[in-house]
């Protein structure tokens, strides 16, 4: 589970030396300009929402606004957090995320393990089926499930939202865990078996601890997926909103400061989590989509 290997500027292979010689620093400035422009396009909006969230309300209604804030205040953010339903929905979001990642790990890890360790009839067919789920839009799960959840008395509960989010996350969890277990050497598990471990013991005492960092990264990934999901969460809840559902459903009757602070509040946890799993992120997507 190493990070993506990007080529280095001072490589040792002959090919790289040829390349380095051919491209003198003079001809490389357009690349840096391009990289700079892309970085500006991708990061500047995040800077803007951040200063919007930390501007006092009066400053948000001022026009034209300066791009460097003259005054920093938590007024707007506190106004958002103290709005009705916001803290409760943030708590719901955290719960939904935790249930989702637990369910998808418990259900998906065995399947991922099976894919990585056993050669069995139907293995490729199962892999294909799991990949095929991506060709179906998630949007269409929510409406029929809402109808079913009403009948089952699950409608408007944190658990119902978590079930739908698990259906979204499970295929990815299976593929990611299978790639994680492929990276755990088989020999150590077999050594445990010959030393008298049961297959389950070999799994829990040897394979699982070695796979743990990867599984943790995969769980964070699942949590972010759940935290960010808007459509199903909005359709499946009325009172017990998740944070995105709460912000979304009050868009039409909320003032701009609420929306800016809401946008910022939605981004922050994702940024923190993405930072922690940045080493794994590219690898996970890379392997899953290959």
């Amino acid at each position: 589970m190493s990070a993506v290997t990007l080529p280095e500027t001072s490589g040792q292979t002959p090919g790289k030396l040829v390349e380095a010689a051919r491209r003198s620093p003079r001809t490389r400035w357009p690349l840096y300009l391009l990289a700079g422009l892309l970085t500006f396009f991708l990061l500047f909006p995040i800077y803007l929402i951040t200063i919007a969230a930390f501007s006092p309300r009066a400053a948000l209604f001022a026009f034209p606004k300066p791009l460097i804030p003259t005054e920093i205040s938590t007024e707007t953010l506190l106004f958002f957090l103290n709005s009705r339903g916001v803290l409760g929905s943030a708590w719901n979001s955290a719960l939904v995320g935790l249930i989702t990642l637990t369910l998808s790990l418990v259900i998906g890890t065995p399947a991922g393990y099976a894919l990585s360790r056993y050669a069995f009839r139907g293995r490729d067919a199962f892999r294909m089926l799991i990949l095929t789920t991506r060709a179906f839009p998630i949007v269409i799960l929510a409406v029929p499930l809402a109808v079913s959840f009403i009948q089952w008395g699950l409608y408007d509960t944190v658990f119902a939202v978590a079930l739908v989010h698990t259906a979204l996350a499970l295929p990815t969890t299976v593929l990611i865990t299978s790639s994680i277990f492929i990276a755990v050497p088989r020999d150590v598990e077999e050594a445990a078996l010959t030393l008298g471990c049961t297959p389950i013991g070999a799994f829990t005492r040897v394979a699982l601890p070695l796979a743990l960092p990867g599984l943790a990264a995969s769980s964070i990934f699942t949590f972010v997926l759940s935290w960010n999901e808007v459509f199903a969460a909005t359709i499946l809840t009325v009172v017990n909103r998740t944070l995105p559902a709460q912000v979304f459903s009050s868009l039409s009757d909320s003032p701009l400061p609420y929306r800016f602070a809401g946008g910022f509040a939605l981004i922050v946890p994702s940024l923190v989590f993405i930072f922690f799993i940045r080493r794994y992120l590219f690898n996970m997507w890379g392997r899953v989509t290959r």
């Binding site: 034209p64 300066p66 029929p144 499930l145 929306r259 946008g263 992120l281």
Partner: protein, 302 residues
């Protein structure tokens, strides 16, 4: 006596263990299969049923009819298709440029990679709100325009009177949010292309552009296919980013699905809309798989 016992243990155990070993993988798949059957396959079939039922539950074409005569339906189809046609190619081109820049061996590539991947963690709702702070009437873009003297009072980018500008704002926000996903997929694809191919092209005197066009792109085809399929399906579901920026002034299919379920309390018509989204997605996956079919000689490389 002792030898016999030992022999029988040795004789029986491997058979039982081998049988258990044969069945074990299927047992491990059961939870996933059961869950996906209950919460993925079943609701899909349920959507099909709902779309062809009236509110009483009898078989009927009423939901389809009501969807089709709704003036917003054609508008939603048009906007969704246009948005996909603009956003997906923009994302693929941008992501291709980003991955090629990262792979070109510039200094600080790791840092650029991290910065460019940040939108991966941002939801479509949050992305819509981020760009709302820029495009709204008294937002940052108008602030800059007025400060620079390019405009007297600013331009109403998101007013219903300016459909083209609403569309462009949504397209920019959507491109901003999801290009990182395409970049990560393409980057993963670029990593597995052996360096020797590019070096060979260089030996034969190919220019950078020729190398990209005739060596890198064909070898990247499987990754491009995956990226296109995933992104197009997500583009058909564009929802919160549109509503956050344009409210319902730019009807899209997923937004209409939500409106029929949430505001108009009609799950049947909502299911009909959901079905349209699914048909579009499947049609597209089929087209991409055909158009970008991987030729046999390339399979060995990937």
């Amino acid at each position: 006596m002792q030898g016999q016992v030992a022999e029988s243990v040795v004789g029986v155990a491997p058979v039982a263990r081998a049988r258990r070993r044969e069945l074990a993988p299927y047992g491990l798949l059961v939870p996933t299969i059961v869950f996906m059957a209950a919460f993925f396959v079943w609701p899909m079939l349920q959507a099909l049923v709902l779309a062809f039922q009236d509110s009483g539950g009898a078989l009927s074409l009423e939901p389809i009819r009501r969807m089709a005569i709704d003036p917003k339906f054609l508008e939603a189809v048009r906007n969704t298709v246009l948005l996909t046609l603009v956003v997906v190619p923009a994302q693929v081109v941008l992501a291709l440029i980003m991955s090629l820049v990262l792979m070109s061996g510039i200094r600080g590539a790791g840092l650029f990679l991290y910065a460019w991947a940040i939108p991966l963690g941002i939801s479509d709702l949050a992305a819509g709100l981020v760009w709302l702070s820029i495009f709204t009437d008294r937002g940052y873009l108008n602030s800059v325009l007025v400060t620079l003297g390019l405009s007297e009072t600013g331009f109403s980018f998101l007013s219903y009177e300016h459909p083209v500008s609403i569309f462009l704002c949504v397209a920019i926000a959507e491109t901003w949010r999801a290009t990182a996903l395409v970049m990560v997929i393409l980057l993963a694809g670029l990593q597995v292309i052996p360096k020797e191919y590019a070096e060979a092209a260089e030996v034969f005197g190919a220019t950078t552009w020729q190398r990209i066009r005739h060596v890198t792109l064909p070898l990247l085809r499987p990754s491009l296919q995956v990226a296109l399929i995933i992104r197009t399906i997500l583009a058909f579901q564009a929802f919160a980013v549109v509503i956050a920026l344009a409210a319902y002034n730019l009807p899209v299919l997923a937004g209409e699905t939500y409106r029929w379920y949430g505001d108009l309390r009609n799950p049947n018509v909502a299911a009909a809309y959901a079905l349209v989204i699914m048909l579009f997605s499947l049609l597209n996956t089929g087209i991409y798989l055909r158009a970008l079919r991987t030729r046999d000689e390339q399979v060995g490389i990937t």
